[in-house]
């Protein structure tokens, strides 16, 4: 009888282990997962001039609960080419920038992983440092460089390479430069972590058997670093799709990015329901990249 009671008690009172899991989990569920439910809910609401500026979905009419889902926001987004173009061009910006980051970041990560241990720590620290420096400030730095009368143009004019200043600031080129600059450390760090784990004996064996270095790189190093490549690409691509600061500061009127559209809907038009619908569609677009990111994250965990 007593043993049975103890057993039931044990089942009811969570063990220490469960409590430990529950503490951070509860925080993240409350402040990260549940908020998405509110975004979804408000994306079905209508704009109204009130505080908060949206209508309630549920209404009690004659003691029965009425739920009114308004699909208008989504129809509005799908009918206006501005929004569709903004989604397409954000994905394009993010994709091209991710590929550029990979092209620049891979050789850098590779070189760092191959350098001698003492220098390696310093080189790594120099990669980490920009990622700890305020993003806004690092993007701001490019305004002074890319302006018409900025440092780059002055330098090129002085060299005599160009006769007239190049227009770079407030164009799409400036946005690409900004994204690659801003996110490069996030590409290099996972690649470096992956590349340092490789077993050098594989390369030695290949070398001893007469395999040329470029071939052993293509057949051994590159395939082994696949997980690092995917992790780095997702760390750049996903946040870049929703980037706001870079198109705002470096982009021009031709630059169309969905993060900026969302910001304007929210802060300038104060249309919370449309901003929510914009966010939900962005999440749907990012679902696959997010799943890939978590898949590789989980692989590393186990």
């Amino acid at each position: 009888m007593r043993a049975k009671l103890e057993n039931t008690l044990k089942k009811i009172i969570p063990r220490g282990r469960s409590i430990v899991i529950a503490i951070p989990f509860a925080w993240m569920i409350l402040f990260f997962l549940i908020p998405f439910a509110f975004v979804l809910k408000i994306s079905f609401a209508e704009l109204q001039l009130a505080i908060p500026p949206f209508t309630a979905l549920t209404k009690l009419i004659e003691e029965s609960l009425h739920i009114k889902l308004n699909l208008g926001n989504y129809l509005f987004l799908l009918q206006d080419p501005l929004y569709i173009n903004a989604y397409i061009s954000s994905v394009k910006f993010a994709f091209v920038s991710t590929m550029l980051c990979l092209l620049i970041g891979y050789p850098m990560a590779y070189a760092i992983s191959k350098s001698s241990p003492n220098i390696r720590n310093i080189l790594l620290m120099l990669i980490v440092l920009p990622s700890w420096t305020e993003f806004l400030i690092r993007i701001y730095a490019w305004i002074g460089i890319l302006k018409n009368n900025g440092i780059l143009n002055n330098f090129l004019l002085w060299l005599g390479v160009i006769d007239e200043p190049l227009v770079i600031l407030n164009t799409n080129i400036a946005v690409y430069i900004g994204i690659v600059y801003g996110y490069l450390p996030f590409m290099i760090l996972p690649l470096y972590t992956n590349l340092t784990k490789h077993d050098d004996t594989l390369l030695e064996a290949a070398y001893d058997l007469g395999c040329p270095p470029w071939k052993s790189f293509l057949t051994i190093t590159l395939p082994l670093s696949f997980a690092g490549i995917v992790a780095g690409c997702m760390l750049v691509f996903i946040p870049a799709v929703g980037e706001f600061v870079i198109p705002e500061l470096l982009g021009g009127s031709e630059t169309l990015m969905i993060g900026k559209v969302l910001w304007q809907e929210f802060f300038n038009n104060r249309d919370w329901p449309v901003a929510s619908a914009v966010a939900i569609i962005m999440l749907i677009i990012l679902a696959v990249p997010l799943a890939i990111f978590h898949h590789f994250q989980a692989k590393e965990t186990l």
């Binding site: 908060p52 706001f244 966010a279």
Partner: protein, 282 residues
Amino acid sequence: MRRKLSHRLILFLSIGYAFLYLPIIILIVYSFNESRLVTVWAGFSTKWYGELLKDQGILDAVWMSLRIAFLTAWVATFLGAIAGQVMARFGRFRFHSGFASTITAPLVMPEVITGLSLLLLFVSMETMIGWPEGRGMLTIWISHVTFATAFVAVIVSSRLREMDISIEEAAMDLGAHPFKVFFVITIPIIMPALISGWLLSFTLSMDSLVITSFVAGPASTTLPMKVFSSVRMGVSPKINAVATFIVLFATVIVVTSSVMTIRQDKKKQREIQAAMKENLGK
């Protein structure tokens, strides 16, 4: 067989670092420019730093940011340490993959989405239960803790995965309570990760612009918000002066935390070698 780096790789690395650092260096150099124009050099001057110290708006924003960052760092380190421990050491439990995904998702989630969703949560909670009342430091702090926890969890769990689990297992086998093992063995092992996690949370909180803009009330302006509103007006040497402080701050923090981690690793290696020698001697 560690062959030396080829010249091509060294050249590439140099260009890469130049790309990363030239803009920051130019930014700092022009903060000492006499002229109001950021791009024309008119002689050395520290007058923009003087102007900065007279700007009450910026000083208030710095104070606000520092307070929030300090409060964020402690709670994010606490939550992140637990979450990292769970991710690295708890093996499989029922919601294991859900747990890891939920904890790490804020790392990549576009900030406009996180910011909007948190704001809508706060607004809805206020209508439903009357808390949190309005928006300000409290809501900013909650938002910062949420994304900073993700970073700390990743730092702690990757540190734990590098570490040998056998010491913890040995202590458990000898009958130590899991909590005792955590405090006596795990915490000292992950101390460098906890310190870098604390510092990173602090920095992330100081730097957050987009999420903070969504959840901040009219009375609470943080430093990045202040900088952003002046940057929108155009470049100004005063912002360069602020930027110089921010870069200096980040440098001190990153160097401190790197040196600490490297030192502890070296110490650990020496201890392992000493222990091995002792064993061989017997």
